[in-house]
């Protein structure tokens, strides 16, 4: 390791109908009856114009929206920005929807649009396409968010020149229960990257 210092430049949390950027509440919507409506309302609030968004599954939408918040007005990203994500439920939410389309032999119509999202790492593909990123990406499935592992893995990517910066975190969805935390790690910022700091920000 080169021993360089890295920082948490920006972070976004989406939890309990609220969207936070760097700890500040930027959007609140506790009236939406479904996660689909909640995601759509955030999309409108952010004045995004990306029609592919509407085709994404709910897990992808959450990760995509958090990445948009983290990358808003951000210059410390380029095609070498890596993505290191994790969650507990993998793509289970969409896996169930896919199963529903194939469980009845008389109505066996698997939907290609649902099937393509039966892997959690598709989120990173969507974010890469949107931001023209061509770097490393990895998706880990763990019981809980592991700040030590994620910060260590991200630091190795930057120290070895595999990434100029890293968007890392936790994007979890299971039966309408969601928990999203993404952070941009780079050489610029005011919050020094440590596992304790990453853990603190996640638990805010």
């Amino acid at each position: 390791m080169s021993g360089k210092e890295y920082y948490i430049s920006n972070f976004c949390t989406i939890r309990n109908g609220c969207v936070f950027k760097n700890g500040k509440l930027i959007y609140k919507d506790i009236t939406s009856e479904s996660l689909k409506d909640f995601s759509k309302n955030i999309y409108k609030f952010m004045e995004l114009n990306y029609s592919k968004f509407h085709k994404m599954d709910e897990l992808c939408k959450l990760g995509f929206l958090a990445s948009e918040v983290v990358l808003q007005n951000e210059e410390n990203v380029d095609e070498d920005t890596a993505l290191v994500f994790s969650n507990r439920a993998s793509s289970l939410d969409t896996d169930r929807k896919h199963q529903h389309t194939i469980e009845d032999r008389e109505q066996f119509f698997p939907s290609p649009a649902i099937f393509v999202y039966t892997l959690p790492n598709i989120i990173m593909g969507e974010i890469s396409i949107r931001n023209n990123m061509k770097s490393e990406n990895a998706f880990f499935v763990t019981e809980t968010f592991q700040p030590h592992f994620i910060s260590n893995y991200s630091e190795i990517l930057m120290n070895t020149g595999k990434a100029s910066s890293v968007i890392c975190g936790w994007v979890d969805l299971d039966s309408n229960k969601y928990d999203v935390f993404l952070a941009l790690l780079s050489t610029k910022g005011i919050r020094r990257l440590t596992k304790e700091e990453l853990s603190k920000l996640y638990n805010q």
Binding site: K40, S51, K55, F109, P112, A113
Partner: protein, 85 residues
Amino acid sequence: MAELREELKEKIIEQLSLEDIEIGEIGDDDPLFGDGLGLDSIDALELIVLLEKDYGIKLKDPKEGKAIFESVGVMADYISKHRTK
């Protein structure tokens, strides 16, 4: 036939999650792929499923879709000639 074309536009918008598009914005002869609605390969597969599920038309060769999905008008014409339900 006009009714079928309108029905298809509704189904395409719903099935392909084209939330930014209204029925009135899709012309009968507008190309569905490329410069038209900008549909992609997954959308093409979804349309193949739609044909089978809603109209009982099973394409033997997915490549047939290229001609059938040229526009809503062409699709409606094909469906009216080949539908089994």
